[in-house]
């Protein structure tokens, strides 16, 4: 038992890049991190690890950044204690996520868990956390149903898909007011909790705000071919295509559209795949002018120096820029650190109370949000989403006006 723990601790330490600087156990706060590190979305888990290591660097070392827990080494509220991560692999399986969460809580005595990308896994992990009275900070699962379960220990600093989709329609409403013609939209979404949730909200919003739904196409995720689906989209020829898909499908969709000669007039994507660098490496040339909802935009660095500095720190580790997911993961850890400082304790109930009382102004984060607060369901209602447009080889923020750097190029394919 002891030996296994030691091996595990050593492994976790090596991962956290702390090496010989290991603090004594008393000065350590252990936080569990749960991601899929193998399987179809393994890349996301690997990137997440770099994001959390960057957050740990900010928290554990002293940095002159206007971010929570950045100044001074370690957690001030806990006498300079350092955060140590224990990272576990849930393989995208809700059962494994649940088992790993239990292991982290009972064996590693983690004081909180951050995770878990797949909404289905976040559903079981947060249930375990609720039962053990350990806070779960949901970094990047955006299914709206998660924050509707009245869990006491569930906290999501980032927006959910409902808020994201609302931003998309706000943006289109704005264009309409400027005299642009946007009559119809096509929905294209995968058959998972993520895709269905997203499409349900988009369908509702389209009906409420008077957009005709030209095509409503559900597809099987990770499917080998999307030819039939793309043909349906092409024949519908909507003014705006609203895709909701992960990396592999986003690449396949773009390739198939190219093969079948379908150039949508405009694309507004529900991030995920369309915020992954690998998609733009593969088919970026075909996606010029694509607009994606986002939690994050790098050009915010012009207004807020901390964004550029944190991105540089992340870049050194991951050899890529922060994106929608990694920025949310980084921020989730900082939100947790802020609560730990205020709680002055690692006790589950006290930490929960501190999290619930969170009030961080948006300017003290790397996100374009108004602020970080939590409603009764643990959702941050002020996580204002932005829309970003792919121009050249970078993203430019085009919405809302408060964060926009340039006006949107519309339509994408005239």
């Amino acid at each position: 038992m002891l030996r296994r723990r030691e091996i595990l601790a050593a492994g976790a330490l090596a991962l956290a890049g702390l090496g010989s600087q290991r603090a004594t156990a008393a000065d350590e706060v252990v936080v569990g991190v749960l991601y899929a590190l193998s399987g179809a979305s393994a890349q996301n888990g690997v990137d997440a690890r770099h994001a959390f290591e960057t957050a740990l660097d900010v928290i554990n070392e002293s940095h002159d950044l206007d971010l929570p827990a950045a100044k001074g080494a370690g957690l001030e509220g806990l006498g300079g204690a350092r955060i140590r991560l224990v990272i576990a692999d849930h393989q995208g399986d809700p059962q494994k996520g649940r088992a790993e969460a239990e292991r982290l809580i009972t064996q590693d005595k983690v004081i909180a868990i951050v995770g878990a990308y797949q909404s289905s896994v976040s559903a079981t992990v947060s249930a375990v956390c609720e039962r053990y009275g350990v806070p779960f900070v949901c970094a990047d699962s955006s299914s709206p149903s998660l924050s509707r379960r009245n869990l006491k220990y569930f906290f999501r600093p980032a927006a959910n898909d409902e808020m994201f989709s609302a931003a998309m329609f706000d943006f289109m409403d704005g264009l309409r007011k400027q005299g642009k013609t946007i009559d119809s939209v096509s929905l294209f979404y995968e058959d998972t909790i993520y895709g269905i949730d997203s499409s349900n909200v988009q369908r509702k919003l389209a009906n409420e705000r008077g957009y005709r739904i030209a095509a409503d196409v559900k597809y099987k995720s990770n499917s080998p071919s999307l030819t039939a689906e793309v043909q349906a989209l092409k024949s519908a020829g909507a003014d705006v295509l609203l895709p909701t898909c992960y990396t592999n499908d986003a690449i396949l969709l773009t390739k198939t559209m190219g093969e079948l000669g379908y150039k949508p007039k405009a694309i507004i994507a529900q991030a995920a795949g369309f915020s992954e660098k690998s998609v733009y490496d593969a088919v970026g040339d075909k996606l010029q002018g694509l607009i994606s909802r986002a939690s994050f935009s790098l050009d915010l660095a012009a207004k807020r120096p901390s964004v550029g500095i944190v991105n540089a720190m992340y870049r050194k580790r991951a050899d890529r820029d922060l994106n929608d997911n990694t920025s949310r993961q980084f921020t989730a850890m900082l939100v947790l650190a802020d609560a730990l400082n205020r709680a002055g304790s690692t006790d589950g109930a006290k930490l929960r109370a501190a999290l619930a009382a969170t009030d961080i102004p948006g300017t003290r984060t790397i996100m374009p949000w108004k602020k970080v607060i939590f409603d009764a369901g643990g959702q941050n209602p002020d996580a204002t989403p932005v829309l970003i447009q792919y121009v050249g080889t970078t993203f430019v923020t085009v919405f809302p006006e408060s964060a926009a750097v340039a006006p949107a190029i519309w339509p994408m394919n005239a």
Partner: protein
């Protein structure tokens, strides 16, 4: 083995009484061993204090039971199904939907799911058992995948959103235990004992001999008067019945199901693998296989998976390959050989 010699034996033989007596003694011994092993397994969760290891135990027992259910059709009757995820899903969904949407006790849900799955197995078996060999296996894969797609697109059962069990206080009535793993270990063990007993009883019955005859050579079996088609149907129904009970228990254990997490193809493989690894068509193969496979996959993932290097999966694949090459008849055959060698010496 004794069985085939019994059938093949001439009607009257002077050694028949003696063989009968020996056979009965052997059966009694099996039963004693079974009682002992299961009593030990029932006590085991009390000895393991660690919640995580208890979880590994629950999964091991559950997969042993599910693999034993698969073994009835795949091992004894020789009909290799790679679509048992369908029955597992039916059990999981029937139990969850009845409980979450209609407040029906999960115990009734387990029974309903089991009967439903058995009926579906019969409905599938009707056309598919006319297919021979590999064609049957392929058909089962396709049908299970079709089932997955159906459930994913069926809003009544939650579609892709899945079904979340409510947060209820601990109770045997609702099969909900927030932190306590011991009841789940006993539920899984109960299912394992049930499948083991059914296998034990049926294996040496007229049906069991029929199944093995069908497995060895369907044409020869038919010529000897074995009702091949009905044998297969019976095996499929029993197998599906218990697989669905396992699915219902799994749903109550995880408290959240979505189509991918109970009906994906990997479950079909996971039911076959322990039996194949331990010894197909044997009484203990499924448990031995599960006792090796599940702890190794779970523990290697937990303690090596965090590196993100996939070492745990390489390990898992390597293990299956080693057994497949070194012991194609399964781990149990190791013991059989030594015993046979000992008997020869005597």
């Amino acid at each position: 083995m004794t069985g085939t010699s019994l059938i093949a034996a001439p009607a009257i033989s002077p050694s028949l009484d003696e063989a009968d007596r020996r056979f009965a003694a052997k059966r009694r011994r099996s039963l004693y061993v079974g009682a002992l092993v299961f009593a030990g397994l029932a006590a085991l969760p009390y000895a393991i204090r660690d919640v995580y290891l208890q979880n590994v135990l629950v999964l091991t027992l559950l997969y042993a039971a599910l693999s034993q259910s698969w073994n009835i059709l795949g091992g004894y009757c020789g009909q290799i199904s790679l679509g048992h995820a369908l029955y597992f899903g039916i059990g999981a969904y029937a139990t969850s939907i009845l409980f979450v949407n209609y407040g029906v006790s999960p115990w009734l849900g387990l029974g309903f799911g089991a009967v439903l799955a058995a009926s579906v197995a019969l409905a599938i078996g009707w056309p598919c058992f006319r297919l021979g060999g590999h064609y049957f296996s392929i058909a089962t894969i396709v049908i299970a995948e079709a089932g997955l797609l159906l459930v994913q697109n069926w809003d009544f059962v939650g579609g892709a959103m899945g079904v979340q069990w409510p947060f209820n206080p601990d109770s045997w009535a609702t099969l909900q235990f927030a932190r306590d793993k011991i009841p789940y270990a006993h539920l899984a063990l109960g299912l394992l004992v049930a499948t083991w007993l059914v296998t034990f009883l049926v294996a040496e019955s007229r049906w069991g001999y029929g199944w093995r005859a069908v497995k060895d050579d369907p044409a020869a079996a038919q010529s000897l008067g074995v009702e091949v088609f009905r044998s297969k149907m019976a095996a499929a129904a029993i197998s599906a019945f218990f697989t669905a009970v396992g699915g219902g228990l799994y749903a109550s254990y995880v408290s959240y199901i979505d189509p991918e997490s109970v009906m994906s193809f990997r479950f079909s493989l996971l039911f076959a693998l322990p039996a194949v690894l331990g010894g197909v068509g044997t009484l203990w193969g499924a448990l031995v296989g599960a006792a090796i496979l599940i702890p190794i996959t779970e523990i290697s993932r937990s303690y090596l998976g965090g590196t993100g290097s996939g070492i745990d999966l390489i390990f898992y694949g390597g293990l299956v390959m080693v057994v497949a090459i070194a012991r194609p008849e399964g781990v149990l055959s190791l013991f059989k050989r030594t015993r046979a060698a000992r008997n020869e010496e005597v």
